[in-house]
C-alpha cells in the first residue's frame, strides 16, 4: 500500500508553533486587570460532573468484554463437542458430557446477562441526550451492539443444533449397524435352570421403587421437562424481540446517514432561526404595547391636570 507519513513534519511544525507561542506569552507582561476566570469558557466542553457519556461507554466496554468471553466459551464448546463426536468412549463421554453441559449453562447465563444489558442500553439510547451528535452516536452504538449480540446468539444456537444433529445421526448409524439385542435379566448366564432366580428376584423387587414412588419420579421428570421447555420458549421469544428491535427500515449506506443527519441539523437550525425571529417579534409587540400604555397614561394625567 502506497502512503506517505507526514507526522514527523507535522510534529516539527507544531513544536515550533508551541515555542513561538510560549515566547510570545513570556514577552507580554502580566496584566493585573485580566480576570482570573475566563467568562467565555465554552459551556459545551464536557466537565467531570457530566458523566453520561462515560456511563454508556463504560456499559459498552463491559458488554464488549462479555461478548469476547462468550466468543471464547463458544470456541471451547465447539472443541469439546468435536472431541466428543470423534472419540466416543464410555468413561470419557461422561466427563465431556458434564463439561459440555456446564459450559452450555454458563454461556446461556452469560447471554441472558448480555441480553438484559443490551435491553438496558437500548432504553438508555431512547432518552434525550445532550446534543444530536451524541444521539446519533449512541443509537449507532446500540445498533452495532445488538447486531453483535444477535450474531453471537445465532452462532451459539447453530453450534448446539449442529451438535444435536450430529449426535442424532451418529446414534442412527449405530442403531443401523448393531441391532437392538434384548437382554433377559433373570436368565442364568450359564443356562442353568436351578440358578438362584428367587434371590435375584427379591433383590430386584427390593431395589425397584414402589409404584407410588415411580409415579412421583415420573411426574418430577415431566415437570422438569416442561419447565425446561418453558424456559426455552421464553429465551426464544427474547431472541425474537431482539431481532425485531433491529428491524429498522434504514439504508445501510454511510452517505445516506450523513445526508439524513445534515438534513435534521439544517431543519433544526431553521426552526431555531424561526423561533428567534418569533421571539424578537413578540418582544417588539410588547414594547409597542407598553409604549402605547404609557402614552395613554400620560395623556390621562395631562387631561386631569388641565
Amino acid at each position: 500500500m502506497s502512503s506517505r507519513n507526514l507526522t514527523s513534519n507535522f510534529l516539527e511544525f507544531r513544536n515550533r508553533a508551541v515555542q513561538n507561542r510560549t515566547n510570545y506569552t513570556n514577552n507580554n507582561k502580566l496584566d493585573d486587570r485580566s480576570p482570573l476566570l475566563n467568562d467565555d469558557e465554552d459551556n459545551e466542553v464536557v466537565h467531570f460532573d457530566r458523566d453520561d457519556a462515560f456511563l454508556w461507554m463504560e456499559s459498552y466496554r463491559r458488554m464488549q468484554s462479555q461478548f469476547d468471553e462468550v466468543r471464547n466459551q463458544i470456541k471451547k464448546l465447539q472443541q469439546l463437542q468435536a472431541k466428543c463426536l470423534t472419540r466416543p468412549g464410555f468413561d470419557e463421554n461422561d466427563h465431556s458430557d458434564f463439561e459440555i453441559r456446564s459450559l452450555t449453562k454458563d454461556i446461556t447465563s452469560t447471554l441472558n446477562n448480555c441480553r438484559l444489558a443490551v435491553q438496558k442500553f437500548s432504553s438508555f439510547a431512547k432518552k434525550s441526550h445532550a446534543n444530536s451528535y451524541e444521539q446519533h452516536l449512541v443509537s449507532n452504538v446500540v445498533q452495532a451492539t445488538i447486531n453483535t449480540f444477535q450474531d453471537l446468539m445465532l452462532k451459539f444456537n447453530q453450534c448446539q443444533s449442529n451438535y444435536v444433529q450430529k449426535l442424532q445421526s451418529q446414534k442412527d448409524k449405530f442403531d443401523q449397524v448393531i441391532p437392538h439385542i434384548a437382554i433377559d435379566m433373570y436368565a442364568s448366564p450359564f443356562g442353568d435352570k436351578e440358578f438362584d432366580q428367587i434371590s435375584l428376584l427379591s433383590e430386584v423387587q427390593q431395589q425397584c421403587a414402589s409404584p407410588v414412588d415411580e409415579y412421583t419420579i415420573q411426574r418430577d421428570k415431566e415437570i422438569r421437562d416442561a419447565y425446561q421447555s418453558i424456559q426455552e420458549v421464553n429465551s426464544t421469544f427474547m431472541d425474537v424481540s431482539t431481532i425485531i428491535f433491529n428491524q429498522k427500515a434504514s439504508m445501510d449506506q454511510i452517505e445516506c446517514v450523513i445526508g439524513d443527519s445534515i438534513n435534521s441539523i439544517e431543519q433544526g437550525n431553521k426552526e431555531l432561526v424561526q423561533a428567534v425571529t418569533r421571539q424578537q417579534r413578540r418582544l417588539k409587540i410588547k414594547l409597542i404595547l407598553l409604549g402605547i400604555g404609557i402614552f395613554i397614561l400620560l395623556f390621562v394625567v395631562f387631561i386631569s391636570y388641565i
Binding site: S3, N5, R16, R21, E44, L137, N140, A144, N157, Q158
Partner: protein, 596 residues
C-alpha cells in the same frame, strides 16, 4: 503481481485508518467527496462493527463536544478542507485526531494545521491515496458530471482534480512507473497525459513501494468524443439498464417515481459487494435476469414455507436462527423484483425492444434506405419517447455524416412536425456532430474507412449475430485489443516519456539504426512497442456501463484492465456533457428548422 482491484485498494486504506486509530470509539469525519468514496466500498453496518460509530462532514458546522471519541479525518487536500480542519483544531470537538488526506498535501498546509493544533490533539497525518470512487473491481470514476468547458477546453480545477485522481489510482494500485499514452487527436487528453507525467516525475522520490518494470503498465487516456455512439444506445445488461432507465448514483437507485412503490423501497442500494444476486447478475442480459429472478422467487417461497411451519420448540428455535438470513433474502427479493418489474414496465410502454433493434441496426448495419424508413415509422409512433427519437437522429447524424443521401434535416423536420422537442434536445442534436463528428475523431467508428474493417464487417454480417440488441462493440474494446497485441499505432496514440523510458521516436534497435544510417526506410515492428501486462484506462468525458461490461469480459479472458472516467454516463447526463462543450452557431438549413 498485485491484483488490479480498485475496491480492495480503497478498502485496504480504510481498514488501515481504522486500525491505526486503535481500540476506541471512533468518529469518521469526511468531506462531500470522501463520503462517497467510503460509502461505495463500506456498508454502514460493517463499519459499525469496527467501532466507528459517528459519521460527519467537516464542512457542516457542529458545535458540540465529543471528547471521548477519536476522530478519523479522511479528507481531500483542498483549500476549503484545510481551512475547515484548522477551524476544527482551534476548537477541537474530539479527543484525538488521526488525519488522512487522499492526495499530496503541501507542507504549508501541514504548517497551518500544526499551528492550529494548540491542544495537541493530532496524533497522525498521512497521505492515503484513495482519491477516486471505486464502483466495481475493474471500474472507477471521479464523479465529475461535466468535464468539458466551452470549446472543449480544460477547466484548471477539473484538470488538477483529474490528475490527482489518476495519480492516486496509480499509487493505490502500487504503480510508480507506467507508460502514459494518449489520444493524439484530443488536446484535452494530451494536456492531461503531460500533467500526469509531470506530477508522477515530481513526486516519485518519496514513494517506497516496489518499482514495477518499465513498460509493464500502460495508462491510456482517451476522449469520450472519439466514441459518441456508445452513450446514445439503449442497454440490456442489468447494471447498464438500471442506470439508463432509472439512474444509479453512488450505488443508490431512486425508485420514488415507480407507481405504487412502498416507502421502504423509495431509495435502494445496489452494491455488488453486499448483494449476491446483483453481483451474479450485473452483466446478465434482460432475458437472463428474468429467469434468475424467477429462480430467486422460488427459492424465497421455499424458505417462506419452511419459516411458516412453527409447531414445536425446535421449529421455533430454527425459525429464530434462520430469521435474519430470511429477512435479508426477503429484502433482496423485494428490491430486485421491484426494479426488474419497473424495467419491464418501461420496456413495454416505451417500445424499447423495437427501438433498440433499430439503434443497433443503424450503428452496425449499412442499409440506409431501410433504416430511414424505420426511423420515420418510429417518429410517428406515440409510444416512443422524445429522447429516444433524439437518440436515433443523433446516431443517424453520426453514422451517415458524409453520406450522399444524408437525411438528418428531413428526419428532424419530420420530428418537429409531430412532436414538441425541448430546446435542450434541439441544441443537443445541433451539438453532437461538433462533439463527436468525423472532423474530430480519428477512429473508424463504423468500420467503413479501411478495407480490413470493411472485410471484418462483411464477415460479421455473413456469420449473423447472436443477439440483435448487442451487436455494437464499443470503440474502447477495439483499442484495448490492439494495445494488448502491441498494435496500437504510435502516431495515433503516442506516449509521454516516463521516468525510465526515452521517447519512442528515438527508440530503435541496432539493426534499425544501421538501416537508417544506410538510408533505408524503417518499418516499425509491432513487437517493438509495449505489450502491456496491465492497462489503466481513463476516458475524458466519461464512460458507460456497456464499456464496463466489455472490459469485464476481457478481464475474464485473462486481461488485466481497469477502466475509469470522469463520470458514468447515461443518456441524460451525456446530453449535459455534450452541451457543456458548446453549441455551434452555424446558419445552414440544419439549424434553421422551424419549430412547431
Amino acid at each position: 503481481m498485485t491484483n488490479l482491484n480498485v475496491i480492495e485498494a480503497t478498502r485496504f486504506y480504510i481498514n488501515r485508518m481504522i486500525e491505526d486509530a486503535g481500540q476506541s470509539v471512533k468518529g469518521l469525519v469526511m468531506d462531500k467527496e470522501t463520503a462517497s468514496i467510503v460509502s461505495m466500498v463500506y456498508a454502514q453496518s460493517e463499519i459499525l462493527q469496527k467501532e466507528v460509530f459517528l459519521f460527519e462532514r467537516i464542512d457542516v458546522a457542529g458545535q458540540k463536544s465529543l471528547k471521548h471519541l477519536t476522530a478519523i479525518c479522511f479528507l481531500r487536500p483542498t483549500e476549503d478542507n484545510i481551512q475547515a480542519l484548522v477551524r476544527e483544531l482551534q476548537e477541537p470537538k474530539y479527543g484525538s485526531y488521526f488525519i488522512y488526506f487522499t492526495n499530496f498535501v503541501e507542507l504549508n498546509d501541514i504548517k497551518s494545521i500544526a499551528e492550529a493544533d494548540e491542544y495537541e490533539c493530532v496524533r497522525v497525518i498521512q497521505e492515503f491515496y484513495a482519491d477516486y470512487v471505486a464502483i466495481n473491481p475493474h471500474l472507477y470514476s471521479l464523479n465529475i458530471p461535466i468535464t468539458y468547458e466551452n470549446n472543449f477546453l480544460w477547466n484548471d480545477q477539473l484538470l488538477r482534480r483529474t490528475a490527482q485522481g489518476l495519480v492516486s489510482l496509480l499509487l493505490s494500485l502500487r504503480k510508480k512507473s507506467a507508460t502514459i499514452r494518449y489520444q493524439q487527436s484530443s488536446n484535452m487528453a494530451k494536456i492531461l497525459a503531460e500533467r500526469l507525467s509531470n506530477t508522477l516525475r515530481r513526486q516519485l522520490d518519496f514513494a517506497s513501494s516496489n518499482v514495477n518494470a518499465p513498460d509493464h503498465t500502460v495508462v491510456l487516456i482517451v476522449d469520450r468524443r472519439e466514441d459518441a455512439i456508445t452513450p446514445l444506445l439503449n442497454q440490456w445488461t442489468y447494471q447498464a439498464m438500471v442506470h439508463e432507465l432509472i439512474g444509479i448514483k453512488n450505488n443508490r437507485v431512486n425508485l420514488s417515481q415507480v407507481p405504487g412503490i412502498t416507502k421502504e423501497l423509495e431509495e435502494v442500494v445496489m452494491n455488488a459487494e453486499y448483494d449476491e444476486f446483483y453481483a451474479d447478475n450485473l452483466y446478465s442480459n434482460f432475458g437472463e435476469i428474468a429467469t434468475n429472478i424467477k429462480r430467486l422467487m422460488e427459492h424465497f417461497q421455499e424458505k417462506h414455507k419452511s419459516q411458516s411451519k412453527i409447531e414445536s420448540i425446535t421449529d421455533m428455535k430454527s425459525f429464530v436462527e434462520s430469521y435474519p438470513q430470511f429477512k435479508k433474502l426477503s429484502g433482496t427479493v423485494s428490491k430486485h423484483v421491484t426494479i426488474v418489474g419497473e424495467l419491464s414496465r418501461l420496456v413495454g410502454i416505451y417500445n424499447l425492444l423495437d427501438l433498440s433493434e433499430t439503434e443497433q441496426n443503424l450503428v452496425c448495419q449499412s442499409n440506409h434506405s431501410e433504416i430511414v424508413q424505420k426511423i420515420k415509422q418510429l417518429i410517428q409512433n406515440d409510444k416512443i419517447r422524445d429522447e429516444d427519437i433524439v437518440r436515433l437522429i443523433c446516431l443517424y447524424a453520426l453514422r451517415y455524416e458524409h453520406h450522399g443521401n444524408n437525411e438528418t434535416n428531413a428526419l428532424l423536420r419530420e420530428t418537429l412536425k409531430c412532436r414538441q422537442l425541448s430546446e435542450k434536445y434541439i441544441q443537443f442534436i445541433q451539438a453532437i456532430l461538433n462533439y463527436g463528428g468525423r472532423k474530430f475523431r480519428q477512429a473508424d467508428l463504423f468500420n467503413t474507412q479501411n478495407s480490413m474493417a470493411i472485410t471484418r464487417q462483411f464477415i460479421r454480417g455473413l456469420k449473423g449475430v447472436d443477439n440483435v440488441y448487442a451487436q455494437h462493440i464499443p470503440l474502447i474494446r477495439d483499442l484495448l485489443e490492439q494495445l494488448l497485441r502491441g498494435k496500437l499505432k504510435d502516431n495515433l496514440y503516442p506516449s509521454v516519456g516516463s521516468k525510465d523510458r526515452i521517447q519512442s521516436n528515438n527508440y530503435y534497435t541496432t539493426s534499425q539504426q544501421t538501416q537508417f544510417q544506410q538510408g533505408q526506410p524503417i518499418k516499425y515492428r509491432s513487437s517493438l512497442f509495449i505489450i502491456p501486462s496491465e492497462i489503466i484506462v481513463y476516458v475524458v468525458g466519461g464512460i458507460t456501463y456497456e464499456e464496463s461490461y466489455h472490459i469485464h469480459m476481457m478481464n475474464k479472458q485473462g486481461a488485466r484492465i481497469v477502466l475509469g472516467g470522469s463520470y458514468i454516463h447515461n443518456f441524460a447526463s451525456f446530453v449535459d456533457e455534450v452541451l457543456a462543450g458548446g453549441v455551434p452557431s452555424t446558419s445552414n438549413e440544419f439549424f434553421a428548422v422551424k419549430r412547431r
